[in-house]
Point group: D2
């Protein structure tokens, strides 16, 4: 029952010492993240249902959500011109967003000699509705959104392989992760987090659709933010400008907590005031007006898109949290890398982890767990070999912990 752990040092410079860097985050209201969030909410709800009623999580992968943008006409609160007589102040959604839930679930469970049917579509629709209601206060999920559901039963073969009691890997796949986050990574994450957790409660104009792209050229960091504004909370173009000014200041102050480098920020660079073009929305979400989204096209499990770092294409959101190696191994790689870096103190500058599954074998027994380290000058990786092996084995043997953390929402996946 080998873990097939391979540890090696890399000759690279750590990211902070490289000359350029570019990182992106699609905030929780970006259409791709909305899709991720719904996919994960559906998986979590199904998992809980299976667990509460049958003692374990049955096979499912609800990692397919397609968001077809609606049509909307947003307006400033006090602007008569752009208002339609029939509209509410701030504009109105004209055609609802269409959201298609898809993917696979265990639809029938054989127990005590009879079969019980799982209300999987009812659960899924309810979970999606609740997710939208909880996250987006300016969206009315009854009339602004159509939730359709085509979740179906999986192929018998795959279901055959899947047995959560044995926890066998469902695919030949891999997960990757790294630590630590760079300053640019951190600023990108924290910028959106700050708006969602603090600022939007203070400044009602701020919607949830936020895109942050941060680039670094040596010691200059530039943050580009696309921030959807909510029409009914912005009086007019002057008020819009004020909100942008206030936002710029607060975000710079916040970012300064995470770096000593020179900081610069641009907000809503596509605005063209002289043509009356602003990033104004009814619901705080661009999906209201022609922006589409789908699962797995946005952030990786650490919340970021990092082109210069190891990345997997796997869509984690909505995958079953027990045996889907695309989900488990990506999260585990990140957690292992974090633990290694913590253990290494200043000796380990960076850790890159890649775990490759062995289809049909237990999740705890990968084909390969590759650990690449960027060591501080003069330190050999051999010094940490034992400790690292024990970190890796620990996570592999206790992979159910990741399942639990997912169900308790202690781990994000997008």
């Amino acid at each position: 029952m080998s873990k097939n752990i391979a540890i090696e040092a890399k000759r690279e410079r750590p990211m902070e010492e490289q000359t350029s860097e570019i990182v992106e985050r699609k905030g929780i209201g970006h259409p791709d993240s909305v899709a991720d969030g719904i996919a994960e909410a559906v998986s979590r709800t199904l998992s809980q249902y299976y667990k509460e009623n049958y003692g374990r999580i049955f096979h499912h992968n609800t990692d397919q959500v397609e968001i077809v943008g609606g049509q909307a006409k947003a307006a400033f609160l006090n602007r008569e011109l752009s208002q339609n007589r029939g509209y509410k102040k701030g504009g109105m959604v004209l055609e609802p967003v269409y959201i298609l839930l898809s993917g696979r679930a265990t639809t029938t469970i054989e127990i005590d000699g009879h079969k019980e049917r799982v209300p999987y579509r009812t659960l899924a629709v309810r979970a999606a509705f609740k997710q939208l209601k909880d996250q987006f206060p300016n969206l009315d999920p009854v009339e602004d959104v159509i939730i359709d559901c085509k979740i179906g039963q999986g192929s018998v073969d795959l279901t055959g392989l899947y047995d959560t009691r044995k926890q066998l890997a469902n695919d030949t796949s891999f997960g990757v992760g790294y630590a630590p986050l760079s300053e640019v990574d951190t600023i990108t994450l924290k910028t959106e987090e700050y708006i969602i957790e603090k600022l939007r409660h203070q400044i009602k104009a701020l919607g949830e659709d936020i895109k942050v792209m941060t680039s670094r050229n040596v010691d200059k960091i530039h943050i580009t933010v696309a921030q959807a504004m909510v029409g009914k909370h912005v009086d007019d173009p002057d008020a819009y400008r004020s909100v942008k000014d206030e936002l710029r200041e607060k975000l710079l102050d916040n970012a300064a907590k995470y770096t000593k480098r020179e900081l610069d920020i641009s907000i809503n660079t596509a605005d063209i005031p002289e043509k009356d073009i602003y990033y104004l929305t009814v619901t705080g979400l661009s999906m209201e007006n022609g922006d589409d989204g789908s699962v797995g096209r946005g952030n990786r499990v650490n919340g970021l898109i990092t082109p210069y770092r190891p990345m997997s294409m796997e869509a984690a959101a909505g995958k079953n949290p027990v045996t889907h190696v695309g989900k488990i191994y990506n999260l585990m790689s990140m957690l292992i890398a974090e633990d290694i870096v913590k253990a290494g103190g200043n000796d380990i500058k960076e850790a890159h982890v890649c775990i490759v599954s062995n289809i049909g074998h237990p999740v705890s027994e990968p084909q390969l767990a590759s650990i690449q380290l960027i060591m501080a000058g003069g330190v050999s990786e051999a010094k940490y070999r034992g400790e690292i092996e024990s970190i890796v084995s620990g996570w592999l043997d206790n992979h159910e912990k990741i399942t639990d953390m997912l169900l308790n929402q202690e781990l994000k996946v997008y």
Copy 2:
């Protein structure tokens, strides 16, 4: 501007004197009636929006609603056997009902030199949701139902013809109606009305999906009722039987108010207790479990299906209430027949009305308004000619009154 009114006497026996009669009503919870109700709610909502914001009702016909039955597992409240561990008491909807709103609307209105877009799909979805919520207390429209919407813009040609200021007939079509209702008609209507307005509030087990078929053979009247029961309000088969017994008694007492003929009643004749087959539902609606429905396949505008009476195939529910002759003329024919019979006292036994439109001509100027009368013995129809012509002209000239009554819900259409 002739009304083309033709009045003639018919040699027939009035319905009460014929030997047999058969009449049906699909109650408000029957899938076809649910479709009718939603179609009409959508039309009413659009009409109000157009009127409030633009002063008149624009072209629309939302008389296309398709209900695709869901999957559900109902259970008696206290029956462990038939219960799934994960289900709520009384059973659960497993796959939501899918409801497709379709039809046509005016999507853009040109006014004051600019175009305003109508939030027609948002309004439609909201109207459908509200209709379900208001009418069916045991249905959760969030998770038991998926409301999809494909309402689109109409053909330009038809829209061209349609101009509510001129109120030109939109089609070559006709409407028919008759009065008075026979005893059998009345019993059929009142049986469902009594359950919906009174009994279901006293006996929680009674759902809204009710089908009443009443047949008469000379002086024997037989009522057949299919009454959906709500699982969570019925303890067990014994309780189910009690509800049926109580219902039987109350319905017979109620029916006896409308006839002196011999009465008999059957309830849920498809039950087979020894095979554990009952008409048990989760939501009070058979559409929860594989029963489909669509607009215009159920009751005519008088609330009944009457194979031996003049009937039009026109689906009135959802049609625009201003110029759609299929809607206006059917209602008007019924109202005219009622007024004629009232005016005739005992002299006029029955009145049949048929109004044929003239496409492109005002609604008030039909191609033909044919009035057929069954007179009491020895009375000539000539005696009432003047009065009848004035009744007919009065309704034709004031057809907007029907539009208003529809918007105020003073007239039913199914």
Copy 3:
């Protein structure tokens, strides 16, 4: 095993002697008839699959088809003005028609100790595609139409009742029919039949969407025809006018074969040449441009809508042809009425038949088979009692014959 046959004479005048009459037919290309045709094709295909592979027809009701009209821009062949640069000559469908197949089928069959799954959706989609391809030569079913399918499994209870080996009635329902057809009935039927079977092959401009409404006032018969024209086969407005003229002449000649009464005809009365409004289409079908349709809203099983005759609201198209009394009894009533009238020679002027089912009892044992006759002067219905009873019993006992005729397409249902 009584047939409960009740025979009585009616005092009415036969239809031909009444002063007015109005009859309608929605041709095979009218959206409601397209829906009927697809529903029936799907049922026929499933029936054949069940029969060929399992020896009998299993439960299904595919009587739910919703047609959501597309968007199209038709043009005369030689008219540059109305043409879009990218369009084909004669115009183009811009947004496909959306067709939703719905209803219920037996999805799994238990046989020889194992379960076999039926490819019901694949069969249904193929059947719908073929039906469109076979009937409408100017429609390209690949790009002009989207065929979606939500056919699902039925409720277990109803399936329980359904057992084609026992052929028990599936519902409390009834069917009605009459004979003979009046001149107006015949003209209405034959007008469309003549265009579809003969004229459209000679005059390419004639599409399949045809609506015929015929009214009679004493001895004057007026035919109103709405005839879709196919843009690519009409050069210009002059050619359009010629086609209308030719059509008018041919239809009058044809109608004259069926009556000696005075005849008159109007074609496409909604045309307004000065506003460039013509009934021009790309595909010969109005559903291409915003006209919706659904099953059961058009013709009754005799191909007509006859407001003054006994009519059932039952949608026959798509119903299972073995036990669905709404389908079987409507067809049987018509066939019985025809046989009675034939047997009666000149003695029986008209026969009206109504058969009421007994849920859970064999199709051959109705609750009531009511025969109403309009006899020639001086003839008693008693004379034909025996013969009529034997006609009725014969059809009831051999109702499988109707099933066979439906599968062989020897009987139409719309």
Copy 4:
């Protein structure tokens, strides 16, 4: 009009000298690639329509395709047991795959003072149908697939920004690319290519759904192939085994052309013959039976998923090929890297390119074009600075060449 080109050398070892490597390719029949292929076909078709009729490509992004897996039952040609009586030999698709086309298009074009409507949905549906028909000979796109379309109009703001005559970047985004391909990269690409272009024509059993994952540990290369087999072309389990054996041999021979390292291969490792579990399909595509797919979740523009290389999350397939920087810059980065490596001969071991856009600025003027080089020992990047700058500028200034190559299908995007 600076190109903002930054060139620097990196201290890393080139990939071939690193100890481990893992690379994946989802073949053209993998559900995610099917989605990519359809999205790109739709974009190509729209582009051609716009160009032919209006002289330039209008705004669109059809990069949203959701594939909802069907249900199928595959069988060996000669195995009675697993066959259903009604099925064709080799099995049958029971429920069609559902494919939802989504995204945005220019739906109306103003020209010569009037507006012309684009048949965008008709074109899209036809393009998707053709793509399936051309690529997958064992799939019947009429009955095995439902193609639905919700492509709509974009947000006016974005459309505003988009003007193909000025070719301004539509977003703040970036593209990345590298060269050369490693041996592992090449083997992964060539393995699938060999099956699709050669082997499947020789061995009919080979379907199009192929997943190749190749890992290297120092000098051992392991190829894992999941190869869908087509039931009607495989007699029985023995034949299946033979096909696997033959495939193994041929693929090893083929791979040996691209490396001198030790090679090993596994095919269909999830097979469990003793449980009768094989990777058998009806259509050669796993989407027939519960495998879902969507755009942008599979291969990057070089055809590969390479976790250790720079990768963008951008879904290129379906994006408009004129101004969408997510598409253009990813392809351009790859092409630039290839040209640089070619120019550098043995001096440049590896080139990594990242181009960051400047929203609202011409595509030819990025915010940053970063070139990172891994140089051969002792060579300075300065030597190639001039040449590289001219390569980069050349591609930026002639980005329309990429548009043309895409329309001519000389460039793949997945």
